[in-house]
Amino acid sequence: MPTSHEHAIGALAKPVLEVSNLEAAYGRIQVLHGINIKVGEGQLISLVGANGAGKTTLLKAISGLIEVTGGTITLFGDAITTAPPDRRVRAGISLVPEGRQVFAPLSVEDNLRLGAYTRRDNEREIDLERMYELFPILKQRRRLAAGMLSGGQQQMLAIARALMARPKVLLLDEPSMGLAPRLVQEIFEVISNCKSKGIPILLVEQNALAALSIADYAYVLETGKVTVEGTGPELMRDDKVQQAYLGM
């Protein structure tokens, strides 16, 4: 069970993103039933849960792609619950969506430049070069239509595109989905790299073992409710989590 020491780590970080009693629905079908989640400065928070639990819905609600029916979302203490998606991007939220969602007919480089669409500073070109250093394959293919990339490359592009916005919190929706083990490892290295740069991360994963191993704190989502939460190691020791998500 949670030790007071481990809880202290989670509590110390100043909150960046706070989701309180969040409810969301598709038409008349309620999907999220009062979710409470916090992402603190420099933290990597993992969210695991079965198919259809509402993980994607939660991330879409945080990004503003769907309207919520109750609760609040705050970023650095400011309520953004009803702000349109572009305002949330400007405020610092970037989502790497499920299924990558690159701009298929546009070139790799245009995809990256569009990632910085909300920025007006003059370091965008520098960041573009940084992304090419981080993902050399994208540099090789920068003139190619993004839709022609392999699944793994598209995932790299989707992450790089999100990073081009210089997010203050990065949301990732199943970035390892459908990728070969070697690529999964590569993606997780990129995520660790982002964390070490101090970017707060909310990571949704079905690969629970990998997600819990690198998490500072984690939540288990079941049919639209948080059922278990704790630090990564705590959840990995939890009997229920072991049975349901770690296959032990």
Binding site: S63, G64, L65, P84, P85, D86, V89, R90, S94, L95, P97, Q101, V102, F103, A104, P105, L106, D110, R113, L114, G115, Y117, T118, A145, G147, M148, L149, S150, G151, R161, A162, A165
Partner: protein, 290 residues
């Protein structure tokens, strides 16, 4: 030979007008998947506002930009008052709204300007220029020239500007566009303004040839739509090629068969397209790897 050239001139002239109209369809379609059946009315409004200005004594060179501006405002109002409030309605509802808007615009214009045709003087005289045995009207040169310049500008806009790329991104993947911070509501407004601009310009340069009447937009809009579909809805190159093709075919049918069949060309074409190649000539081939 000189006869053929004559038909080519005439076809390129009307084709240029259809091409601009078709580009307007494509731009709004890309931003929203909506087929804007009021596109033809933008052509009519451009001509009608210009006529109204000249009737008030404004010289033509001022009346033209005013006509374009007023039409762009009308396009913006159409989006703000009719499309935006419908918000998340499905595409079919939005298309029906544009049909209603088209009837409304034509009704208002009919009340204000009557049912009769209004003439606009040619920009630089009526003296035809002999070219290779055929005669080319100076106004045809205006139409083709203005269309060419606008097409180049629109091409550069989408290729080189961030707003242009954002519109392409929005067309490719609306949610992802929102996730990089593109204000999709604003982009829809921009697309209506652009479509209105293209329509107004086409309508005004064509006005000395077509005359202006309240329901002029019905035929021009329909032919623009056929041109856009023929080229592949949403494709810029397709809209231009489609527009020129429809114009040329019409001219050939009118010249070699009978002008009575001219207006049947687009309808026959659209049936053929739907049967043979529903995606159009440059129809969006998905570049997604599956």
């Amino acid at each position: 030979m000189s006869e053929l050239l004559q038909f080519v001139f005439s076809g390129l002239t009307t084709g240029s007008i259809y091409a601009l109209s078709a580009l307007g369809f494509a731009i709004i379609y890309n931003a929203s998947r909506v087929i804007n059946f009021a596109q033809g009315d933008f052509l009519m409004l451009g001509g009608m506002f210009t006529v109204a200005c000249t009737q008030l004594g404004v010289p033509l060179y001022l009346a033209i930009p005013l006509g374009v501006l007023a039409t762009v405002v009308a396009g913006a109002l159409l989006e703000r008052l009719a499309i935006a409030p419908a918000g998340n309605s499905n595409v079919v509802s939005l298309i029906i709204i544009t049909i209603g808007a088209s009837m409304f615009i034509e009704g208002v214009v009919q009340i204000l300007f009557g049912k009769n045709q209004h003439a606009v003087p040619s920009f630089s005289g009526e003296t035809a220029i002999p070219v290779g045995g055929a005669m080319l009207l100076p106004q045809s040169l205006w139409v083709i020239g203005v269309a060419a310049v606008i097409v180049v500008f629109v091409g550069c806009f989408f290729r080189f500007t961030m707003i242009g790329k954002a519109m392409l991104a929005m067309s490719a993947n609306r949610e992802a566009a929102q996730l990089v911070g593109i204000n999709t509501r604003m982009m829809l407004l921009v697309s209506f303004c652009m479509a209105a601009f293209l329509g107004a310009t086409a309508g005004i340069v064509a006005a000395p040839i077509t005359m202006v009447v309240y329901d002029l937009g019905q035929m021009l809009g329909l032919k623009g739509f056929v041109a856009a579909t023929l080229g592949g809805m949403g494709s810029g190159v397709g809209a231009i090629v489609g527009g020129l093709l429809v114009g040329l075919l019409e001219a050939f049918v009118a010249g070699y068969v009978s002008s009575a069949y001219k207006d049947a060309v687009p309808f026959v074409l659209i049936i053929i397209i739907l049967l043979v190649r529903p995606g159009g000539i440059f129809g969006a081939k998905s570049v997604d790897r599956v």
